[in-house]
């Protein structure tokens, strides 16, 4: 199995722990991720002009060299998906291609790495790789942009792929009504109070489930829920202390990898208790 790999900007900075775990886990599963040479930012949510936004993703999609394109980032994924749909408009495609050295032909399929694991690699095969069934309760948190506005693998209202993945690893995915409610991440710099309020709602609901951790698929959700958790605690005077981990880190733990190899030490919310409960090294 081989994919053209679009890491996205966050993997270089705030999501360096995600990157470490993706590389380790995919290597162990024998899934090859070939990083695109000279890739560009997708524009995230901050390039207001639609044509530019579409063109940024078209340039990325055009460099896939016939492979499906995998990305670990929900923002990148949603931009690639939206651009693919927008580019069915042949006038827009022609216009965008005028700006591109390598032309977009419409043949690249964008995939989130969760989709790659669950749909392409397959959960039965993943189950064979589980060395330490996790025996914990985990909140499956999908965030917004993994499934909305469009995706090719799960429901935008009640997605279940992450739930299934958590079960496969021997853990229990708790029932979580906010699994696709916004975490506030996009407002982290410009409207911090709003962002903290949204995150608080997620935490309160997550704590009610008695879960040991929240599992995320997106660098921005992780930044908001892990790095900003303390800010939520102090603003609302509540104790949360809930580890937030990337699904690839959870996979790594179940596959018997050393937590140190998965970037867990880079988290803000300590993961020691979680690791002790799992019984890993």
């Amino acid at each position: 199995m081989k994919y053209s790999y679009y890491p996205g900007c966050a993997q270089h900075g705030t999501a360096v722990d995600y990157r470490i775990s993706v590389e380790k886990v995919f290597r162990m599963l024998g899934i090859e991720l070939e990083e695109i040479k000279n890739w560009n930012c997708c524009g995230a949510l901050h390039v207001p002009d639609r044509t530019i936004r579409v063109a940024l993703s078209a340039r990325t999609l055009a460099s896939a060299k016939g492979l499906d394109m995998a990305t670990p980032c929900n923002l990148c994924y949603s931009n690639l998906m939206r651009a693919s749909t927008a580019l069915h408009d042949s006038a827009l495609k022609t216009k965008v291609n005028e700006a591109l050295t390598e032309k977009y032909d419409g043949n690249t399929k964008p995939k989130h790495i969760l989709e790659v694991i669950v749909k392409d690699f397959g959960l039965p095969k993943l189950a064979e790789k589980v060395k330490i069934p996790l025996k914990i309760k985990a909140v499956p948190y999908y965030g917004c942009l993994l499934t909305r506005p469009e995706n090719n693998f799960d429901s935008p209202e009640n997605p279940k792929t992450l739930d299934s993945l958590i079960s496969t690893l021997g853990a229990e995915p708790v029932k979580y009504y906010y699994k696709t409610k916004c975490c506030g991440g996009p407002s982290i710099l410009t409207n911090e109070n709003i962002a903290l309020g949204l995150a608080r709602d997620l935490f309160v609901m997550a704590k009610e489930t008695g879960a040991d951790c929240m599992v995320v698929t997106c660098p921005m959700c992780h930044l908001m829920l892990d790095a900003k958790q303390e800010a939520v605690e102090s603003k609302y005077n509540i104790k949360i202390d809930l580890p937030v981990i990337y699904f690839t880190q959870l996979m790594g733990l179940a596959m018997g990898l050393d937590p140190k190899e998965l970037g867990l030490s880079k988290h803000f919310v300590p993961t020691d208790k979680l690791i002790a409960k799992i019984g890993g090294k």
């Binding site: 900075g13 002009d49 530019i52 700006a99 050295t101 506005p149 916004c182 407002s187 710099l189």
Partner: protein, 227 residues
């Protein structure tokens, strides 16, 4: 409670038509005001008009009220409304459509400034490094200095490298960013290029680069009015 009425003079059919002509505009006339967008929106309580109200305001052509509304900037782009609307209107995409329109009308706020900084960084470097974004944005919005301890803690965790993250080759980027120039902006810039050959491609693109640089430095390329 005093109820507001809409006076005919505040309506601008040309604005309504301009929105209806955009890729997201087609279904807007079919809105039946059911309010599932407002009910699904995680931040509608922070907005001065809910998404439902904003769609109605677009139908009525209330240009000034729509474009000066905080709604389009408070939206977190979560697409809950878009996947639920029974009429297939996409309110999130409508917010995205209205942003450049508001900017063209001289609206400037902390969110539009961040978008300007972000777009500028991507145009120049091709990739967004958090350090560069925060520093540039901090120059425009000194209030974010209170986030400095957070920035330091990210740095200590090795999550905020103090280097510029760049593509090896940025040659496509100017052409990509030039695709988005609105007609009005082009006209404004052509006025700016007085005496220079506006049809000469190379000069034209130089001027465009200049305009973008000015934008990155938070100057209006045409010295236009700020809100």
């Amino acid at each position: 409670m005093k109820k507001e009425t809409i006076i005919p003079e505040s309506r601008d059919p040309a604005f309504r038509d301009a929105v209806l002509k955009t890729p997201v505009g087609e279904k807007i006339p079919t809105c039946m005001q059911c309010g599932i967008c407002a009910g699904s929106c995680p931040v509608s309580h922070e907005m001065d008009h809910t998404p439902r109200q904003l769609v109605r305001m677009v139908q009525l052509g209330l240009k000034k009220e729509v474009l000066s509304s905080n709604t389009i900037w408070i939206c977190t782009t979560c697409f809950s409304c878009s996947v639920r609307c029974p009429r297939g209107i996409h309110p999130t995409e409508l917010m995205e459509t209205l942003k450049p329109m508001a900017i063209a009308e001289g609206i400037e706020n902390k969110d539009s400034k961040f978008d300007t900084v972000f777009s500028g960084v991507v145009r120049t470097n091709g990739r967004a490094s958090e350090f560069l974004l925060i520093s540039k944005y901090g120059l425009m919005e000194p209030g974010i200095i209170k986030q400095l301890p957070f920035g330091i803690s990210l740095f200590q965790k090795g999550k905020l490298p103090l280097s510029t993250y760049k593509m090896e080759d940025t040659k496509d980027l100017d052409a990509i960013f030039n695709l988005g120039k609105s007609k009005e902006k082009k006209i404004k810039e052509e006025n700016n290029v007085e005496g220079k050959n506006p049809e000469g491609e190379s000069k034209d693109s130089k001027e465009e680069t200049k305009a973008t640089k000015a934008l990155q430095e938070n100057k209006k390329p045409d010295g236009g009015v700020k809100k």
